[in-house]
């Protein structure tokens, strides 16, 4: 007499049967699609047109229009510049004027708006994306008094140094033209940053454009203002003279790449 199969066997068989039936059916019908997913990674070709060019545009480039030096001037409560400012031990706010910064791809420099797409070319090479960031060299504004002989502000006076800290950071306000920048596929950094002793040497992302989205005329702009307070009770070693404070050097770095993965690494998580 035949022994009846264990109870679990039909259930297992049902599952396996369904699995194999599905697999074999898929292999028979969609064999090519399945095989495709098993292949190694490869490169896909790109269609390229060729033809006689009458006019040769310039190469596309990354262009950054930045301020050469950022000057901070004393302002009153209404934001008006104080002409004849004298430091008498009272705190005083100093700010920069609003500057327009532009970051763009083009064959021309000095643009304040997006160029036409035909105004530059990559000449069949891969478009270049960029991560633009900035960092500060130090967390202090160093004070210099005037040399009476030369008349230049070269006499170092540490008593008048301004340390950047949580109570008195260098405040950066960068207002992006959001619609313009995001419409052209830029990634944007923070708009409000307090730069101080514990973060000045970080790489702050400013803007980025992945090579995947780089065309010939991506354009982004922002209005920038820096602000700082000259604290109260600084004690000068030299008095009755003119002072200037040399702040940290701001280094803007444009990292160029044609590789989206490299771009992603530099932009960060």
């Amino acid at each position: 007499m035949l022994k009846s199969p264990p109870r679990w066997l039909p259930k297992i068989s049902l599952v396996l049967g369904l699995l194999f039936a599905s697999f074999s059916m898929q292999s028979l019908i969609f064999g090519s699609a399945l095989a495709e997913s098993q292949q190694q990674d490869g490169e896909s070709s790109r269609e390229s047109d060729s033809g006689a060019e009458v006019e040769v545009p310039p190469w596309c480039n990354w262009v950054l229009n930045l301020v050469d030096n950022i000057n901070l001037e004393p302002v009153d409560a209404e934001g008006n510049v104080i002409g004849d400012f004298i430091y008498d031990g009272s705190q005083q706010r100093v700010t920069s004027t609003i500057s327009l910064e532009t970051y763009y791809l083009s064959g021309r420099e000095g643009l304040t708006e997006r160029a036409l797409a035909t105004k530059c070319s990559w000449f069949q090479t891969d478009p270049v994306g960029a991560v633009i960031n900035f960092t500060l060299s130090k967390g202090v504004f160093e004070a210099f008094g005037r040399d009476v002989v030369s008349g230049e502000l070269t006499v170092r006076d540490t008593g008048m140094d301004i340390a950047l800290d949580s109570d008195n950071p260098l405040q950066l306000t960068r207002t992006f033209n959001q619609g313009q920048c995001q419409g052209d596929d830029f990634q944007l950094g923070a708009e409000e940053i307090d730069l101080k002793g514990d973060n000045y040497d970080s790489d702050f992302p400013l803007v980025g454009l992945s090579p995947e989205y780089a065309r010939t005329n991506n354009f982004c702009s922002a209005n920038v203002r820096y602000s700082l307070v000259i604290p109260a009770n600084l004690t000068p070693e030299i008095s009755n003279t003119l002072y200037a404070w040399r702040g940290p050097t701001i280094t803007f770095t444009s990292i160029l790449t044609t590789d989206p993965a490299t771009y992603a690494g530099f932009w960060g998580p």
Binding site: L9, P10, S24, L28, S44, L64, E73, I98, I162, L256
Partner: protein, 381 residues
């Protein structure tokens, strides 16, 4: 009133514009000079390779797009990764920095002008071969502000504009870095856009392999018309690796035996290969089809058997629960099968009274109890 508002608006607009300073341009750029000395110098990507104990160079053209004299500092830097973010490592030099010199550094470029700069790699004898991809840094020099006697400038922030270009620096035998590839195979498949060929290429070199090329088809049996060329461009194969280029094919290329002519060009090194292939855009062979067909039939048999077994088991279970319910319809069954089974399953029916719990459960099963009279009515009808 409206007019006053307009005046206020225009005054405010002029004040705002007057307060807005356009940033001055910091524009410069770099182009790589190409030449025929090596495979890699034919490409506009920045690669400089020297043999141990030897010297080699690469030239770049720097353009000053501003209307001022520009002084650029050149340097090499590696990258570092902190918390998943990559950045230029200003604290540690690239390995190749010790071997690289520049024909001029800093490079002073007159306004609106260009300057050619040579990047020289010179290594002592016995240098261990290596390669790395650091960044060539071009930095402007911070300007000193014009401090005026009227004391207008109180504090300032010097600005440096720096551009980082990727550069490949290699030290080793030229032959290791030479263009070295093989056309490996051609396969066919159905891509989302339609029929296509995969041309497999093996890069045996130590540099990225930029490739372009074509495929042509001719009927293997009757020769005659040549179809193609079907071209590809701008593809790249990584060093010491195998990759394919996908080439879309028209409907002219049917599933038959073709003579396929493949041509691949990389750094002006052209290689060709002729394949004779039974073109099939389905990647499943006849043998595989037979095997998969058999598996499918077998799966159906197993499914049917499982279905039968499960159904039988289900019937068995329903019979096991019968005693409590059958009390109401004990003489009702008209179906033959249950009638036959009933006597064989007397044992559970006898056991039922002994087990008090099942007897208690019976009233809880209201649904079956209700169904029983319905069946009875049907039968009575």
């Amino acid at each position: 009133m409206g007019r006053r508002l307009w005046i206020v608006f225009w005054v405010a607009a002029f004040v705002a514009l007057g307060n807005l300073h356009y940033a001055s341009a910091n524009d410069f750029n770099l182009r790589v000079v190409t030449d025929d000395r090596h495979d890699w110098t034919k490409s506009a990507t920045l690669k400089v390779i020297a043999e141990p104990g030897g010297e080699d160079y690469r030239e770049v053209i720097l353009t000053n797009g501003t209307n001022k004299v520009l002084a650029l500092n050149l340097d090499l830097a590696n990258t570092k990764t902190t918390d998943g973010k990559t950045s230029i490592d200003d604290d540690n030099d690239a390995i190749s920095a010790q071997f690289m010199t520049f024909s001029e550094n800093p490079v002073v470029i007159p306004a609106g002008s260009v300057k050619k700069v040579r990047l020289i790699v010179k290594t002592p004898v016995g240098t261990t071969p290596f390669s790395e991809t650091p960044y060539l840094l071009l930095s402007t020099q911070p300007k000193k502000p014009q401090i005026t006697q009227d004391g207008k400038i109180r504090a300032y922030l010097p600005v440096v504009n720096r551009v980082a270009f990727p550069i490949f620096v290699g030290v080793g035998k030229y032959s290791d870095f030479a263009t070295n590839f093989e056309i490996d195979d051609v396969q066919f498949y159905v891509s989302p856009q339609g029929n296509a060929a995969k041309l497999w290429i093996q890069n045996n070199g130590r540099l990225d392999l930029p490739i372009k090329g074509l495929l042509k088809f001719q009927d293997a049996a009757f020769a005659g018309q040549v179809f193609g060329p079907y071209k590809f461009d701008n593809a790249k194969v990584l060093p010491q690796s195998r990759a394919f280029v996908s080439i879309p094919l028209p409907s002219d290329i049917t599933e038959t035996t073709w003579r396929i002519f493949a041509e691949v060009d990389s750094n002006d090194v052209v290689k060709t290969k002729i394949f004779v292939k039974d073109v099939s855009f389905s990647s499943v062979s006849i043998l595989e089809r037979v095997i998969f067909g058999l598996i499918f039939v077998l799966s159906l048999v197993v499914l049917y058997w499982s279905y039968r077994q499960l159904r039988r088991g289900k019937n068995r279970n329903s019979d096991n629960q019968a005693p409590d319910l059958s009390t109401e319809v004990i003489d009702a069954p008209a179906k033959k099968a249950p009638a036959k089974k009933a006597p064989a399953k007397k044992a559970p029916a006898k056991k039922a009274p002994a087990k008090k719990a099942p007897a208690k459960k019976a009233p809880a099963k209201k649904a079956p109890a209700k169904k029983a009279p319905a069946k009875g009515r049907k039968r009575n009808a």
